[in-house]
């Protein structure tokens, strides 16, 4: 290429007589498929590097040196190539490979989960020789063996395509399964006593081209021809992965990832993939409940709505709208939250919050925003966030991929190492409360300044520490935005639809009306009625003392929920809500992408969508929200909330979804402050979520519930040595007049001077030490 010639942007080739345009660097197999010629294949997967192992995708290519057989998954397109996917030599090679793949395959299709949706089965019919001449003894292995709590491996069915092992190493970064032995004895295995406990293991089941990998949650539950499915969006966390929801006999049986370029690339985390089990749980609330003689008993909708209406009317009449508060909305759809916000507006209730004191101030959504794709395309990503591998797992995959491809450098500032630390360009530890100072220091580092000048900078910010005021991260983010005015922010709130609920109006409408303020007002006797819409403050609010006092003094609780949670137990009236898969709507992910969630099954019992409950409760209170159907609700929402306007077209929210409209960005105005220095004999507390906790959707999913661990105090080995405490010993943590006893786990991921405790695990509740009005939590650690 000469200096003046522009690089060629397309090449033309001929596939089976049709001409096709392709981009240089494209693989032949994609060009063939685009042209309409399906090339049989097993090992090739568009989201992983090609390995050319199965040899099934052989085609014949005519080049300058004559015709040759090539694997189309590893051969790049070239101008003028003449490709045949069906020439005699190509067909002979494809048939030959298929016969060889089937030689040792057990052909136990009738008892195989994959039968009916099996690429090997399908391609054996479409591209195979018809019959096998293999009369020798086949390979035998013990079958199936569990390689983790969630995944079973049948090595006899395995065709050694390297998809699962490649996924584990290349995509998930958890190389816990590997090819072992050699040649005809090659098999996929874990290391002895070290299971394939990846958070992403379910993806290997989905991409396995045979029935070698099956999931404990789906095994023998259904046959593919019995499955009905609909595309939807996962709302387990705020990544908003695109999924297919599958049911059999009106019961959810499986979620599969759908490949959308902007979000999840086909991947799901195991929590999102397998928590469909909770929808089927027998513990679901199937009908309305009312408190009678101290216990909740079943009742009818009309009785329950009447009772709820009466409570609200009485409090509103007697004490005014400020005596009523609403917490929740983030677990439902945008429309659900909108309906509840409409109801609150009509009643004049301004104290409402979709977050539970564990999120970020809503103003972060008004900062200059970056999408997930933009973040992953940024030369620099600054992580001021919780451990994404634990909380927004597929975003972790995306950022890890960007870092591994060396297109993105990650600068991480956190009190403990996270899943991404290994891939970070710089990973800096700090004391809780010290993040703004550490970030400011970094911003004057010469290397960092150089790096920041290399293009877009994205700050991925979230609530990294529940035992620390979110203000610090806000200030740290402000410091970056001040130093790099073009920097943008990807706010990573955890709960599925926080962003949508906030946008729909489920956010405080006056100062001091967030969840912590609401609970304080209840404790002070100023709020008498608390309405919970899919919220469980007793389990989720970090300040356990505050929420305990509030629930001890609250007069009335009305709960809309799918389960009788800790908090719902305190309700006078419980209105059963439809769960995921039982209702239609739209949801908004952390980047502000609106996409649809679909109904696949009939709702449990007489449960209703949250929005419908809001509308009916409104009628009970003499208010007509003007919502009688979902389409009507949707139209009202998209026409009355500008941010949702792009979602007005039903087609726009399918597939990739559509980004919310952004209003003019704001600047962070918080006044700088810093935490008081930590006393030398104290540790600063870090509390954060891990993937498997006692959250209701996990706890009610039999496959996932056992994966939640016992809580422990994680401490750096240096600190443990200084204290003379051994791994596993019991230690007492005390602060703010409370104490908890937990076992110690020596963990060098934690910074010196910091102790880290996972949130909402089995065992003593660390939240007892957290106070919402104390900026950081300093604890004394004593060995018992």
């Amino acid at each position: 290429m000469t200096d003046t010639a522009a690089p060629k942007t397309t090449v033309s080739l001929t596939v089976d007589g049709r001409s096709v345009e392709a981009t240089p660097g494209d693989l032949l197999i994609t060009a063939c498929e685009r042209s309409g010629s399906f090339v049989p294949h097993f090992c090739y997967h568009p989201r992983m590097s090609p390995v050319g192992m199965c040899r099934q995708c052989i085609v014949e290519v005519e080049g300058p040196r004559g015709k040759s057989l090539v694997v189309s998954c590893m051969t790049p397109v070239a101008d003028g190539q003449v490709v045949s996917t069906t020439s005699e030599p190509a067909k002979r090679a494809q048939e030959g490979v298929l016969e060889l793949l089937l030689a040792n395959h057990p052909l136990d299709c009738p008892v195989c989960d994959k039968g009916g949706e099996c690429p090997l089965q399908d391609q054996a019919f479409s591209h195979g020789p018809g019959e096998s001449r293999y009369v020798e003894e086949k390979r035998h292995y013990e079958k199936p063996i569990p390689i983790s709590d969630l995944v079973f491996l049948d090595r006899e069915r395995c065709i050694l395509c390297d998809r699962c092992t490649r996924f584990a190493g290349e995509v998930a970064g958890d190389p816990l399964i590997s090819f072992t032995s050699r040649g005809n004895n090659t098999q996929v295995m874990t290391f002895p006593d070290e299971p394939f406990s990846s958070y992403f293991s379910g993806n290997t089941v989905q991409i396995c081209p045979v029935g070698a990998l099956t999931s404990s949650a789906y095994r023998f539950k259904a046959r593919p021809w019995d499955l009905e499915q609909v595309e939807s969006t996962c709302t387990t966390c705020s990544v908003g992965c695109r999924t297919v929801v599958q049911s059999s006999r009106d019961e959810l049986v499986r979620y599969q990832g759908v490949d959308v370029e902007s979000v999840n690339w086909g991947w799901l985390c195991d929590r999102g993939r397998f928590n469909f089990e909770s929808v089927n749980s027998r513990n679901r609330v199937h009908s309305p409940l009312m408190r009678k003689d101290g216990t909740l008993v079943e009742t009818t909708w009309s009785t329950a709505l009447d009772a709820a209406g009466r409570i609200l009317r009485t409090v509103l009449n007697d004490k005014g709208p400020d005596a009523v508060s609403i917490i929740g909305g983030a677990r439902g759809t945008n429309e659900d939250a909108f309906a509840w916000a409409q109801l609150a507006d009509s009643l004049g209730v301004t104290a409402r919050d979709a977050q539970l004191g564990d999120g970020l101030p809503a103003e972060v959504f008004a900062l200059p925003q970056a999408t997930i794709a933009e973040a992953c395309a940024s030369p620099t990503v600054i992580l001021l966030a919780p451990d994404l591998k634990e909380e927004l797992p597929v975003l972790y995959l995306r950022l890890r991929d960007a870092a591994e491809k060396r297109t993105t450098r990650i600068i991480e500032v956190s009190p403990r190492a996270t899943g991404l630390s290994r891939y970070a360009w710089k990973s800096v530890r700090h004391d809780p409360g010290d993040q703004p100072r550490v970030v400011s220091e970094l911003l004057s580092d010469r290397d960092v300044v150089d790096q920041l000048s290399r293009g877009n900078v994205t700050v991925v910010m979230g609530r990294g520490n529940l035992a620390e005021s979110p203000e610090f991260t806000l200030l740290a983010t402000g410091a970056v935005l001040a130093a790099v005015p073009t920097a943008r922010v990807l706010p990573v709130v955890r709960r599925g639809n926080v962003r949508g609920a906030v946008t729909a109006g489920m956010t405080p409408q006056r100062p001091d009306a967030d969840t912590n303020a609401i609970l304080s007002s209840i404790a002070a006797g100023k709020v008498e009625c608390l309405v919970l819409v899919g919220a469980d403050p007793l389990s989720d609010v970090p300040d356990a003392d505050l929420v305990r006092r509030a629930f001890a003094s609250v007069k009335h609780v009305i709960a809309v929920d799918t389960f009788v949670t800790e908090s719902v137990r305190h309700a006078e009236v419980v209105l059963p809500a439809s769960a995921y898969g039982e209702k239609v709507g739209t949801t908004t992910n952390c980047e502000g992408r609106v996409s649809d969630v679909a109904q696949k099954i009939t709702t449990a019992g007489t449960a209703r969508p949250d929005w419908m409950i809001a509308a009916e409760l409104a009628l009970e209170l003499g208010v007509d929200l003007g919502i009688s159907s979902y389409p009507e609700l949707r139209d009202t929402m998209t026409s009355s909330i500008a941010a949702f306007a792009p979602a007005a077209d039903a087609k726009a929210v399918r597939g990739e979804g559509v980004l919310m409209a952004q209003s003019a960005p704001i600047r962070i105005t918080a006044t700088p402050r810093s935490a008081a220095p930590r006393l030398t004999h104290q540790f600063r507390l870090h509390v954060s979520r891990v993937m498997y906790d006692r959250a209701v959707a996990t706890n009610e999913s039999p496959s996932l519930a056992p994966l939640a661990r016992e809580a422990a105090v994680h401490m750096n080995s240096g600190d443990a040595q200084r204290l003379g405490v051994r791994d596993g010993a019991s230690v007492r943590l005390s602060s703010n007049g409370s104490a908890v006893v937990l076992p110690l786990a020596i963990d060098d991921a934690v910074a010196r001077g910091v102790v880290s405790v996972p949130f909402n695990q089995h065992g003593s509740d660390i939240r007892q030490l957290i106070r919402h009005d104390v900026a950081v939590t300093d604890v004394v650690v004593e060995v018992i």
Partner: protein, 449 residues
Amino acid sequence: MSVPSGPRIITSRFDVADGHTYAGYVRTGGYVSLRKAVSSMTPQQVHDEVKAAEIQGRGGAGFPAGTKWGFLPAGVHPRYLVINGDESEPGTYKDRLLMERDPHQLIEGIVIACYALNASQAFLYVRGEMAHAQERLAQALNEAYASNMVGKNICGSDFSVDITLTWGAGAYIVGEETALIESLEGERGMPRLKPPFFPAVKGLYMQPTIVNNVETLANVPYIVGQGGGDFKSIGAPTSTGMRMFAVSGHVNKPGVFEVPNGVTTFRMLFEAPEYCGGIRNGGSIKAFIPGGASAMWFFPEHLDMALDKPTVDKAGSMLGSGAIVAMDQTTDMVAACWRIVRFFARESCGKCTPCREGTTWLERVLKRMLDGHGRPEDIDLLFEVSESISPGIAWPPRQTTICPLGPSAVSPIASAVRRFRHEFEHYIEHGRPIDGVESPFATHLASHA
């Protein structure tokens, strides 16, 4: 017929008792070429001599080494030299001798090559099973470092290079250059597909890498010392220099010989008294393998063929790694065929389907025949399965696989079944070899019955 003759180039110290030591090596003219190269030649001049020598790689493929060296992209660093000492092709026995008996000659060749290539580091990968070679090389390398023949500022020049000695752990396929690179990276020794991973461009650690065979590099001190033109004048015009052949099997005096390229098998086996002294017991030759187990077999009519690359290639086989296996008239061809197929089945890395499944299938069919359970359709089946691995069943193969290992398993089948079909049919019909042929399992199989 006239036979080209030549000097002993790389085996010259095999009879020197201390030829493997630094003192013995230097005393017999060692490290002179290295001094010459780093003190009076540019890297390009060294490269030019190797190019002029037209030396073909001695590892199997026979690609001209000087041309290969020229494939390194300019200006891309670091770049590496990898020395393939993973000799394991059945019938092949020469690199081990070169490493055990004259390790300094190899080291000198490596350092000169690194100088020509501007390589920063060389990795000498020895076969795992060769403990003695490892010892001798470690000893020699320590001496060479101490004498400033390797390491920093070699011979007082501003040229520096390190050699890292390492070894494998038992896997034939690692002799394939991309599999060797994988193994050097700590991976399972599974070949990479070429393209896109031509080692000269993207090799070890995805950096430019030259992989050369031990014998190839052992010739480099001579080429640099005596000049490429001198080397080229030895052997055949189309296959220059001397070459080591191991002749094994049914000959009176099996041995490893350094012979001029272009010699005939007949001369080595029968004619020249210094070589094999004819077939054992005055017998006749039934077949011979000219270039290791992967090669298509030759028969009596090929005895007079000159062993130079183009001639042998044209006849549909290959010179490979200089390994001649002679089989006399008593040889059980079904058993011989099975044994070689079994080798490839056992050594298949398992990466690609046709080789992993196909070689094992072929082995089992042949074993079934030997066990007396052959079926008439099995002969066609052998060819059908072979066709799925090696479309067209020819050499060089049009393979459906990544590397030539799978197609190599087809060579003995194509050779033996085509030529000795009646022996296979006899096994199928009678469950035993034809008369006049000895089963190699006489006692062994009986003991398992």
